[in-house]
């Protein structure tokens, strides 16, 4: 094995910044009593990582570490997205992290490490590094979900998540082993090459391996039927942690799935083999997407807890995001990337409102009469809900437009109609909240506060995070090209 040239380390600068900040926080952990300092450090690291990612943006893709790690447009896009989600989550945590129960330094260090793992995963060109990155993320996530040790439901959520999550990791690992057995390689390029040359596409060993691998990745994005952990984990976890899982973690999972699929889609030679393999991959993705959309939207109807509702909504959105991948074209990958980008911000916004309103509880009933008592918070929530529904001119509409365009382009009319029909169901889900906010009287007689300023009730950090999310939700809808024009297929 050749020694790794030192220049390769440059490829990992954003990740190293996050890890460095995490270690720094841990070193001074005993001195940090207030969340503020840790938050500031995390946001700083996230911003730095994002800026450096953009600065490192290559003209053409560069790879290093024996072709295991790459910097290309695809990975850079997701890295910036992950860094943004990390920064916003840290800002949202300011209100929620109670220093009595949670040690701020550890909490933020775990967030940073999880984000570093995601970044590592999205730039992997090899199953080994992909697994390492994802595993770093999941291990941190387990702890984050259960970080309030004194709360039984938080512990319960963490244990459920851990049991199912380790099972999924095992599936992934086993799939990896089978693929290695079939092809003799773990890096995408060699696997794709072997596939196209030797016609392993229908080899049971390889098919089983690919299936297990897909199952493991579907678990990360909480696609049906690998979604069962999400509602419990989100409900038990701290709201900011749930937001982080629903956004950054899902984006990273989508990125990894795209990377794996495109390794097959982009196989250079032997079209004949590909023609046999492509429909199979597409079919699996279509199945995952359709099931997620249907199950996510229908079960969301029955939810009474806001975080569970958003969990099922995130399951449905995972399905919508997958719609871009099914075509196997580069335009399709860009559609999914656009969807992921816009989804991250609107979901963070919705979770942000849940965090802002924690004094009213997390059940839907707490939202009754919100528009009278806190009109601005209610208006923001309405914006995020409309965006999640996909009503123009919000970002959610543009996101749905690009993925459904991709579906129709491929001729999957039935899938397109299924997707929009389910969006009517989700409309009912989200607008039920709007009805509670705008059209019901609050059972608690709180003084109406028509002149509410967000900052009077909320820490500045939370308001700032909400403002960013709202801005992206509006701009993404009105000028769709501006934010996501730099998305590049793997």
């Amino acid at each position: 094995m050749t020694p790794v040239p030192i220049t390769d380390v440059a490829l990992l600068v954003p990740e190293l910044i996050l890890i460095g900040m995490a270690l720094a926080l841990l070193l001074v952990a005993s001195r940090i009593r207030e969340a503020g300092l840790a938050t500031a450090g995390t946001v700083l690291a996230a911003a730095l990582a994002a800026v450096l990612t953009i600065w490192l943006m290559p003209q053409s893709s560069v790879s290093g570490f024996s072709e295991m790690i790459t910097i290309d447009g695809y990975s850079q896009f997701f890295k910036v997205l992950i860094a943004s989600a990390l920064g916003l989550t840290a800002l949202l945590s300011v209100k929620r992290v109670d220093v009595k129960f949670v040690r701020p330094a550890e909490y933020h260090a775990l967030l940073l490490l999880a984000a570093a793992g995601m970044m590592f995963a999205v730039s992997s060109l090899d199953l080994m590094t992909l697994y390492l990155g994802l595993e770093l993320t999941t291990l941190c996530s387990y702890v984050l979900v259960g970080i309030t040790v004194d709360k039984p439901d938080s512990n319960e959520a963490a244990i459920k998540y851990f049991l199912l999550g380790s099972f999924a990791s095992a599936l992934f690992l086993y799939g990896m082993a089978l693929i290695y057995g079939a092809t003799g390689a773990t890096d995408f390029q060699t696997i794709a090459l072997v596939l196209s040359e030797s016609g392993l596409g229908s080899d049971p060993l390889f098919v089983a391996g690919a299936g297990l691998l897909t199952a493991g990745l579907a678990f990360k994005i909480a696609a049906v039927p690998f979604h069962a952990w999400a509602p419990d984990a989100y409900e038990g976890a701290h709201a900011p942690v749930a937001a982080f899982l629903a956004t950054a973690s899902k984006a990273a999972g989508l990125a990894a799935l795209g990377r794996v699929c495109w390794a097959v889609f982009k196989t250079p030679s032997n079209q004949l083999q590909l023609d046999k393999l492509l429909p199979e991959v597409s079919m699996v993705l279509v199945g995952l997407a359709a099931l997620s959309i249907i199950v996510g939207s229908i079960i969301a109807l029955a939810q009474t807890n806001m975080k569970r509702l958003l969990a099922y909504s995130s399951i449905a959105h995972a399905g919508y995001a997958l719609l871009g991948f099914i075509s196997g074209t580069d335009a399709g990958a860009v559609a999914t990337m656009t969807y992921a980008f816009l989804y991250v911000f609107m979901t963070l916004g919705a979770f942000g409102i849940v965090i802002a309103l924690e004094d009213r509880g997390e059940t839907l009933d707490g939202y009754q009469g919100l528009a009278v008592q806190r009109p601005k918070t209610a208006a923001l929530m309405l914006l995020f809900l409309l965006s999640l529904t996909g009503i123009p001119p919000t970002a959610g509409f543009m996101a749905k437009f690009v993925v459904i365009l991709n579906v129709v382009q491929e001729g999957y009319y039935a899938l397109a109609i299924l997707a929009v029909a389910c969006s009517v169901i989700t409309a009912f889900v989200y607008l039920r909240v709007a009805v509670l906010m705008y059209m019901k009287e609050s059972p608690v007689a709180a003084a109406a506060d028509p002149d509410e300023t967000l900052s009077s009730r909320l820490p500045l950090a939370v308001s700032a995070a909400l403002a960013v999310a709202a801005l992206v939700t509006v701009i993404g809808g009105v000028f769709p090209g501006v934010l996501t024009s730099w998305a590049v297929a793997p």
């Binding site: 208006a379 009503i391 001119p393 365009l405 607008l431």
Partner: protein
Amino acid sequence: MTYPALTVITFLPLLGAAGILLLGRGQRARWVALATTLATLAAMAPLCSGFDKTKSGLQFVDLVQWISMGNVQINYQLGVDGISLPFIVLSGLLTLLCVGASWTAIRTRDREFYAALLLAETAMIGLFAAANFFLFFIFWELMVVPLFLLIGIWGGSNRVYAALKFLLFTLAGSVLMLVGMIALQVATPEAGLNFKQLTGTTLDTTLQIWLFLAFLAAFAVKVPMFPVHTWLPDAHTEAPTAGSVILAGILLKMGAYGFLRVALPVLPEAVQIFLMPMLIISVVAIIYGAYVTLSQTDVKRLIAYSSVSHMGFVTLGIFTLDQRAVEGAILQMINHGIISAALFLCVGMIYERTHTREIKDYGGVAKTAPIYATLLALFCLAAAGFPGLNSFVGEFLIIGGAFKTNPWLGAMAIWGVVLGTTYLLWLYYRMVIGEMNPGLQGLKIELTARETLTLAPLAFLALYLGLHPECVLSYLHIPVSELPNIIATP
């Protein structure tokens, strides 16, 4: 760069809405709303005076490059032709009158009320000014949100049910239109969904049939055509006066306008195929709507059902494809916008005093309120198609066209007119003539100067268009004759 008249008119109300939310407190909101609607109406003056009736195609075009994603190139393009101009003016006028009608009726959360009303105005004007399908769709969907809020917050006792029913019906229709629009974009990527360029392309007949069905789903719900009209009575009955006026005056016209703007020009072959079914359900709507209207005991419900019947005339006229009948249908859309708005205003004004919508609670209103009785008589006669008033001309042209297509259709339409006269005059008889209902003793029913002023423009238009229909028809000759399939009248 020239003065972007249409963009200004479209977004001026939005600016006003933002202004209200930001600074209007207490009584100030309605003044800002009044100023905005007046300014918008005034800004339409150069549009009307500068419009050249003899030119074909769009005028006052505002064109900016907007979306560019892969092979999707969509421009921001507004423009008016003879069909859309009257509707833009009508939208401006009716919103102004809505502000007048809500002056004292809306006492709770008036900031949000006027903001929603102005947002609806932007959506209405934008829809009629849109020169491509994408913008049309955006404004189409944008319209739903403020009306959902108007009905659900300021409506009657059963408002939440009515608002949700309205929302789900319209969304279910419009998501199918979204799929249709995307299919259209995929089929003709170079047209950029521009109406003019779409008209020039010939699509495959099978595709046309599917697209027609998809668009029909959206348009039929809005018109509303039999049998998807059931949301209308609920929405109308529960909505506040301003909501009913916008619903009856403009929203119902959007569906028919969609037929004229999208279905007829873009899908000529499908229109020919679906001609007979469309004519038959139009006639069913006329007759069925009229009989159901006869049996109503609630004034608002009665007027709502009469809209089903009257809009049946409009679709009947459109699908005869006879030049004069189509012109008559468009004129009738304007007429119905004026008259149904006036009737809802009349009902709303008296409801503000009596707080009952049951017909049996009224009677003998003429004795204390001569001005009200006179105006209501004028509007009832106009709605019944009395010669010399505006509806007469429209209905005459439509029925003439219907007789040419098939004498049976004409005969049924005439039966619809007879029934219409019956229910309107009977309504007038029960409410206004006869002995004074004891329940009304001691109430000051006569209109105030503000209310008379609100109704006066509509009364003037009802008379003026009845005596000089050419002032609208002259705008229609050229654009209607340019629609494909139109049978020219010598």
